[in-house]
Structure formats: C-alpha cells, structure tokens
C-alpha cells in the first residue's frame, strides 16, 4: 500500500440505512479496523450535498473513496468521481433489503453490514485508479476481407462515416455469391416480386469513393497486432505483397453452397438437376426470356423445387441446420418462371415453409397468389425419367407416395460458412479425450481433418491460432445473446453468412452493424478503453514477469486470444485485444496477473477481512462469488423484491467467474469460512457467459477443488458452482439458503481460529 494513499469512508443513512443499522458502529469499524484516514456519515449521500461533501474531501487529498450505501450498480452517476479509486459496500441491496426488520434479526443484520464495511476497506487498499498503458494507436483504416455484398456494404458504410477502407477480394471481381444471382428476394414493401440485386450500384459507389481501396485476386497472408494497430500483409495473385496498417478488421468471407454431389439420392449427375445457384445461372442466361434446361435446351414447363436438400437432417454428411434463406429463394426462383409465363408449373416441395424477416410472409403469399404450388412432402429420390428427372416423393398431407416427372429439379441446398480453420479444435479434442467422451472424440477427429484442409482467411499471428474461433458447424462465434457482433478476437468483426446463415437483406444489416462496431473498436482502443461488456474500462492485466513460471495457462485460457508470447517465451499481454474478464488472473497458478482496480489481493483481502465467529457461535460464514454481469444484478433484483436470504452470507462480485483464482477458496476455507458458492453464467454451446469461456473455465477449475477439500479434511459439499441467469431472481436466494441448510446439516468448519 503506497504511502500517498488517503482513504475516505462515507456511510449513507438514507433509504432506511440509518434506521436499520447502527451507523456509528460502521463508522467506528471503518476507522479502527479499516484504518481509513477519515470516515463520515451523511443522511442522504447521493444527494448533491452528499456528493459535494465527498468532492470537497477529494480536493483536500482523498485518493480512495469507500462508499457504504447501495449496490455498486445503483447511483453510478452520483458516485462517479474522476481520478480516485472507488469501492462500494453494498449495505442496502446486500443487507437491509434482504433481511427482515425484526428485533431477532437485528444483531446478525448489523454483523453483515459491519463485514461489508471491513471488506470494502480492505479491498480499496489494494486498488488504484486505472490508467491506460500508452500502447494505443489511432488508425482510421478498416480492413474488409471479402468483397461480396456484406463486405461491400460494410466498406461503404464505414466510408460514409469517414473511415478509410481496404477491401481484399479473392476473386477477380467484387460481388461474391450475390453477384451470381439474377434477382434477389425483395427487401422493401410490398415484398411481392424479385428485386434487383443492387450489386452494380454498390460496385459503382465503391469505385467512386476516394476512401475505399480494392484489392482483387488478393488474400490476407499475415495479420498481427491488436485493435488500433493491426498490420496486415495483402498478397496479390501477381505475386506482390503490400503491408498496410489498420485500426479494425471486418471478416465478410461469406459461404459456399453445400456440395450437391453429396446428395446421391437426388441424381446429382443429371444435367437437369441443379442447385439454387445453378438455377440462378440459367435464369441469368435467359434474362427474362424462357428458362431452358441444361440437357437439351428445352424451355422448362414444369419445375420442382426440393426444399431442405441435405439440410435440417441428421444423416451423416448433411447439414443439421436450416439455412434460413432457401424457402424464400425457391419462391423467388419460381417467380422467375411465372413472370415469363404464368402457365409454367412450379411446385415447391417442403416440410416446413420458413420465410423469415419482415416481408417473408408477404413474399410467400405473393408466391401463392402467382399460383406457385406448395406441396408439403418429402422427396425420396430422383432418377432419370423419360421426359426429365423423375421424382419420388411422399405427399405428407394426403399420405401417399407419388412419382412424377419434371423438366427440371432444383435442390435447395444449404450454406456452408467460409471460415478459416477452427483454432480451438485440437484443444477441444484433447479435452474430450481426457473426459473419455468417445462419441465426441470421433466427431471431433473427423472435423479436425476437415478443418485442417481449410485455407486460413486472416492468417493471424496470434498464439491461439490463425483464424476466428467458431461456435458450431463452422460458423464464427459471436455473443448471440448480448452483443451479437462481438467475436472472440477483439477488433475483428465477422459479418454475413460466415457468422450464421442469412439472406442478402440480413447480410446487409449485419454488414452495417459490423462497420459501426469496427469504428467503435478503433475509437475505443485509441483511448485504451475496453470493448463490450466492460465497455469503457481502462484497467488491463499487468503482470509481474519475475514471478512467471511460463506455464502458459493464461495464454491458453484467455477466451479472446489476447496474450501472445514474447521472444523469451513470457506471456505478452495485448491490452487492446483484452476484454478485461480476468480469466488469465484466475488461471495464473503463481498469481502474478492483476488489474489496477481488481486483483487477487483486492478480492483476497476482502475475503480475509470478514470477521469469523468461533465454532460454537452457530454463526457460519458463507462466501458467495457472484458474476457481476448476471448473478450480482439478479441478487440486487431479489433485494428489490425483498427476498430474504441467510445473514451468514458475504457476497463479492467478480468480473467473471473465470477470474476466480482457486487461492481465494483455499484461503477462505483455511480462514474458517464454512461454505462457498460460485455463481456464474451458462456455459457450453448455448453459453450466456459474457466472456464466452470464463464460466466454463471456472467450472473446469472447480471440478478439481474436491481434492483440496479432501486434503483439508472438509466435506466436498462445502463448495458449489452454479450456472445462473439474470432472471434467476428467485432461484439464487434459494441456492444461497440451501447452502446455509447444508452447513447446518454437516456442521461448522473446524478451521476457526
């Protein structure tokens, strides 16, 4: 603790705190035990007078402000003092609102408040006001990888906002898959007819923009750095390579159509069986005249669209998901025929017709209105017939099997994301092997062969792999629930069908969002501020090199690939890539990683500051480490509902459960706590964890805590880890109370000194 620290403790008597608690006692504890320089009470601390009082002290030299009032999530605007470190003791939501106002309860309630004051005083001693590292850069230049409709839209949107853009496109022209279309699904009311693709206009606008540079026949062969200071090598087919500096990156690498040749049951060798892009080519060639089939050039009179071909199917090699656009695309393509001649028979064979989006239903109706026939059924096979492909299908509504010949059959196959190799597959495989999940191992091994065959798109020189992490089916990971653009590589945004299946309209929206996020990343990183979810945070992980054993756990566990390795094989933290989750801090076995305002010490000392009554007092102590994103707000909300929970609980908010270092638990148990509950977010494929992998890491680490407990000769029930959501307002108090009951059953810890 530096000598020039001057801590001011302020205790509020408003909101009923004055009536329910003995504030003089709180003040005394802050002074005698907390050893603060000054301690004051106020009737209404968040009022102007209260705030002015604190401000006056700050100008008199207070550097650290400890506020004993409401939850740290309340009154953030009032208690927002610049240039000082702030700690909050939660006396309102954490104490009086969760305890009954009875004479019986008074003593334990006061003890709770006393402890929170002790804890915050201990915590603040180990906090400093965070400052930026100084490694920031400001480069208003965005790299867009992929020149399809998503990339083009992103580039134009960013340029409109005044940022320079370089588009890197593998092909010889811009346009991507959308460029191969005859028309597109309409995105404007009345959503009735196929619309122009708009590619030509976009290309013209790009050519006309002095902010956009286009590299055709080019790929990105190396990317290094961090948001605000990326450096990328752009290699062209001609053999020349240029290196450019970027502030942020948008990956819009699109999709590949699923290979219809894998669908042998549908006679893919038949020239008159095509996929949707195949039909687009025919329509483009016809350009509004009769669409001719490939085999003999006969004008098509009778066409069948088979929906979900190789999609939404669990058969090996098929796509298990729905690509979202194909029903609308088939309707659009049926209209190509109808617009030329309404008497051409167009039949869409579907199992569930899905036309998402605002205009989807209108477009479907328009298709019906134009006499497109919709049959609910499943295609069994396609074979060569006398006049054209013969299709055998089950009509699901009439419950009969039909065989019919068509002039042309169109297969609505799905979208396969065009992502680079999954950087975490080998790690997942190793884990599955360790857990002896044989089925998963087989699947992952197959996937690994496929992933390894893929070319890298970004060629990141990150220690954690060359490309963007994926969620499932090769789609790049981004936080679906809370901040859908935020990927697992800060400052690199994926947009369009590489992120999830989508149509042109959705891809353009996605592209615009990604452009705005890229701009935000550039501006934030220039100021040293974190991206979501700790947006604006200036703290970043600092590490004591002398103590590091080079175990590399931090570099492996960081969900965002923020940590590289320097020449001496020490971890190299890239502040701008970091999301400030603290997972590295939780991982480090020698505890050399810390933030200015959040560290193993700041939490560890708060844990130790709690007064532990002796074994015979019948007053156990339960430590709750609650994720600040979901569990802690849920507890606040439970308090607003006045749900009661045990007075023996001491709650400490953590940035992410991933930041929990097991030393906190060992220390807590050693110093006499009777139990501990860890509350984090949902993990796995449907994760809600704000830091994607933090909760998962914590669960993994905690699965090993049993050994520690056994060594200490303690019951394993004393430590529990739960996945909770922000809506678990009733469940969380129950979890806490159940732990209190468990302690009652198994008895107090023998470690009370």
């Amino acid at each position: 603790m530096a000598a020039d620290k001057k801590i001011g403790a302020y205790i509020c008597k408003g909101c009923g705190l004055g009536e329910r608690l003995d504030c003089n006692q709180l003040e005394k504890i802050a002074k005698t035990e907390g050893k603060v320089a000054l301690a004051k009470q106020h009737d209404f601390l968040c009022s102007q007078a209260g705030v002015e009082m604190i401000k006056a002290d700050i100008s008199e030299g207070v550097t650290h402000v400890m506020i004993g009032a409401c939850s740290r999530r309340a009154k953030t605007e009032a208690f927002n003092f610049t240039g000082v470190a702030i700690a909050r003791a939660n006396l309102r939501e954490g104490v009086i609102w969760v305890r009954p106002d009875t004479d019986d309860a008074r003593e334990t309630t006061q003890e709770m408040a006393n402890d929170y004051i002790r804890m915050s005083c201990a915590e603040i001693k180990f906090m400093t006001q965070p400052e930026t590292s100084g490694e920031q850069g400001l480069i208003k230049h965005i790299l867009v990888v992929g020149g399809g409709i998503t990339g083009m839209t992103s580039a134009l949107e960013a340029a409109k906002a005044g940022y320079n853009v370089s588009i890197v496109e593998k092909q010889a022209q811009l346009g991507g898959a959308a460029g191969q279309l005859f028309k597109r699904i309409p995105v404007r009311a009345p959503y009735q007819h196929p619309a122009d693709t708009g590619i030509a206009e976009l290309a013209t606008a790009i050519a006309a923009s002095d902010k956009i540079k286009v590299y055709l026949n080019a790929t990105v062969t190396r990317t290094s750095g961090a948001p605000g200071r990326f450096s990328a090598d752009i290699s062209q087919e001609s053999g020349s390579t240029v290196t450019e500096q970027f502030g942020a990156i948008i990956q819009a690498s699109g999709f590949k159509p699923y290979d219809m040749n894998q669908l042998t049951e549908f006679n893919p060798d038949n020239a008159d069986v095509v996929d949707q892009l195949g039909l687009e080519a025919l329509a483009k060639a016809a350009n509004g005249a009769a669409i001719k089939r490939p085999s003999d050039g006969k004008a098509v009179q009778n066409v069948l669209f088979i929906q979900c071909a190789g999609q939404r199917s669990q058969k090996p090699g098929h796509l298990s998901y729905c690509s979202g656009h194909c029903c609308s695309t088939s309707i659009k393509q049926a209209m190509y025929f109808k617009q030329y001649n309404p008497d051409i028979q167009t039949t869409v064979l579907f199992t569930d017709l899905r036309t998402p989006g605002a205009g989807g239903e209108n477009f479907y109706r328009s298709g019906q209105d134009q006499c497109v026939t919709f049959l609910k059924g499943i295609a069994e096979s396609v074979t060569p017939g006398k006049t054209g492909p013969k299709v055998k299908f089950d009509n699901l509504l009439l419950n009969e099997t039909v065989e019919q010949e068509f002039d042309l059959v169109v297969l609505a196959t799905g979208m396969v994301p065009n992502s680079g190799p999954n950087p975490y597959l080998e790690q997942e495989l190793a884990l599955a092997k360790e857990k002896k999940e044989t089925e998963k191992v087989v699947v992952l091994e197959q996937e690994l062969v496929f992933e390894k065959s893929k070319a890298s798109i970004l060629n990141l020189d990150y220690r954690q792999g060359t490309d963007m992490p994926q969620l499932v089916h090769g789609f790049t990971d981004s936080h679906f629930i809370c901040f859908p653009y935020e990927t697992r590589r800060t400052g690199i945004y994926t947009a369009g069908p590489v992120r999830r299946p989508m149509d042109i309209g959705q891809a353009m929206d996605d592209a615009t969002g990604a452009a705005l996020k890229a701009i935000q990343a550039i501006e934030n990183s220039a100021l040293g501020r974190a991206a979501h979810p700790r947006s604006g945070d200036l703290s970043y992980p600092k590490f004591r090199k002398e103590g590091c054993t080079q175990c590399k756990r931090c570099t492996v566990e960081c969900p965002f690939g923020a940590i590289n390795e320097d020449e001496q094989r020490y971890p190299q933290f890239n502040e701008a890539r970091c999301r400030r989750c603290g997972t590295c801090m939780g991982a480090c076995p020698v505890r050399v990683i810390s933030f200015d305002n959040y560290s193993v010490d700041s939490v560890g000392q708060a844990i130790k500051a709690v007064d532990i009554p002796d074994e015979f007092s019948e007053k156990p102590r339960i430590l709750v480490l609650a994720c600040e994103n979901d569990a802690y707000p849920a507890l606040d909300m439970a308090a607003m509902n006045r749900s009661e929970y045990s007075a023996f609980v001491r709650v400490i908010p953590v940035r992410c459960l991933g930041s929990v270092n097991t030393i906190w638990l060992t220390d807590a148990l050693n110093s006499g706590y009777d139990g501990a509950v860890l509350l984090g977010c949902q993990k796995g494929d449907n994760y809600q964890c704000h830091f994607v992998k933090g909760s998962e890491m914590a669960h993994y680490r905690m699965s090993k805590i049993g050994d520690t407990l056994t060594q200490l000769n303690l019951e394993t029930e004393r430590v529990e880890t739960h996945e909770v959501a922000i809506t678990d307002i009733q469940r969380i108090p129950e979890i806490i109370n159940n732990m209190a009951k468990t302690i009652e059953k198994i008895g107090m810890s023998p470690f009370k000194f």
Partner: protein, 207 residues
C-alpha cells in the same frame, strides 16, 4: 360427362389449381391456403367428411380433379361459417365449398345420390315451375325421395303434424293441384332462360 367438362380437362390439362382459380366461385383463394388445418379442426362435420376443407385444397394442388369434383365432401357443408372466421389466411372457405359443389354439378360430376345434391335438385325443380315453392309437393316429394314404402312410412309418421297444420289453416291441400305462382310466369321463365344463357356463355368463355 358434359361437353363442358371435356373442354375443361382439355384446357387445363394438369393444372387443376388454375382451373379452380378461374372457374370456381372464390376459387382463386385456394392457392392462398397455407395448410394449417384450422378449418378441418373447426368444422363440426369434419369427422364425417371424406375430405375436410384443408385436404380438399391440398388435393386440388395435387391435381386430383376427378376425386375432388366427384367427392361428396363439399356437399356436406352446413354453412356454419366456423372455418371461415377462424382461417388465419382469411379464406372464404364456406363459399369455396359451395363454389366447388356448384362447379362439380355444372360439369355433371356431382355425386347423384348425395342427399344435399338430391334435395337441392328437387327444390329447384319445384321452384322453377311457378316461381313459388310449393311446400306441399316439396314435402311429399321429400318423403318419397327414397322410394314408395319409405314414403308411406314417413307420411304416416308425420300425419299428426299434417293434421294439426291443416286444422289451423297452415296447409292448403288444394296446392296439390298446381298451386300458386308468380304473376308473370312467362316473364319468369324467360328470365331463367336468359340467366342460363349468360351462365353458359360465362363458363364457355373460359373454354
């Protein structure tokens, strides 16, 4: 089979949906059905039909022309309008049912023995004679619809009611001799003829 029928088969070949769209009253709505099945689930008679509305609509799309037009199903509709108020796509289902029945009848494909069809024909035949319904004749014809002995049995059963109506002046037995009619019968028949011509021309126009 009527010549109109042959002409229609010739004209629409394999596109029964279009034929229905063009020729059946409110038939253009059939293509808007999204096959949710709410109508079939709502129809109080649904369980007794061979093909409830949703299925009829699917059969139309599947080109089951013969089966649809010769079906007894749409003749079963009681015009309760349950389906129509519930259909999420707002199809005028009840009207389509009658439209289909009417079209089938016009093409000569309607099932002759279907009671609704039979009674409707009887009603029509009765009505066109004088321009007024002759209730006595219609009632008796209805009793004897299914043969002589059935008719006698039915008449005996209904005798007390008939007597009651007679004594209170609700039934005029003299109606059996011809009955009353509209004033200008000649004009009435001319009107019907004209209407038939117009209708034939309308259907013919599509042929």
């Amino acid at each position: 089979m009527s010549s109109v029928n042959t002409a229609m088969v010739e004209k629409y070949r394999n596109n029964f949906l279009k034929e229905v769209s063009d020729n059946v009253e409110e038939g253009e709505w059939v293509r808007m059905c999204m096959q949710c099945g709410v109508c079939s689930g709502s129809c109080p008679l649904g369980p007794h039909w061979e093909h409830p509305p949703q299925e009829l609509f699917m059969m139309i799309r599947a080109n089951k022309r013969e089966e649809v037009l010769s079906s007894t199903s749409m003749w079963m509709c009681t015009s309760c309008y349950n389906c129509m108020v519930r259909c999420p796509r707002e199809l005028p289902i009840t009207h389509i049912m009658h439209g289909l029945a009417h079209y089938a009848k016009r093409l000569g494909l309607a099932p002759k023995e279907q009671p609704t069809n039979k009674f409707s024909q009887m009603f029509w035949n009765n009505l066109v004679q004088t321009g007024r319904v002759n209730e006595l004749k219609l009632g008796l014809a209805l009793y004897f619809m299914n043969g002589f002995s059935e008719g006698i049995k039915m008449s005996m059963k209904m005798r007390p009611i008939g007597q009651g109506m007679f004594f209170t002046g609700r039934m005029a037995p003299m109606e059996i001799l011809g009955g009353h009619g509209v004033k200008d019968q000649k004009g009435f028949h001319a009107m019907l003829k004209k209407a038939e011509e117009l209708e034939a021309a309308r259907v013919g126009a599509h042929v």
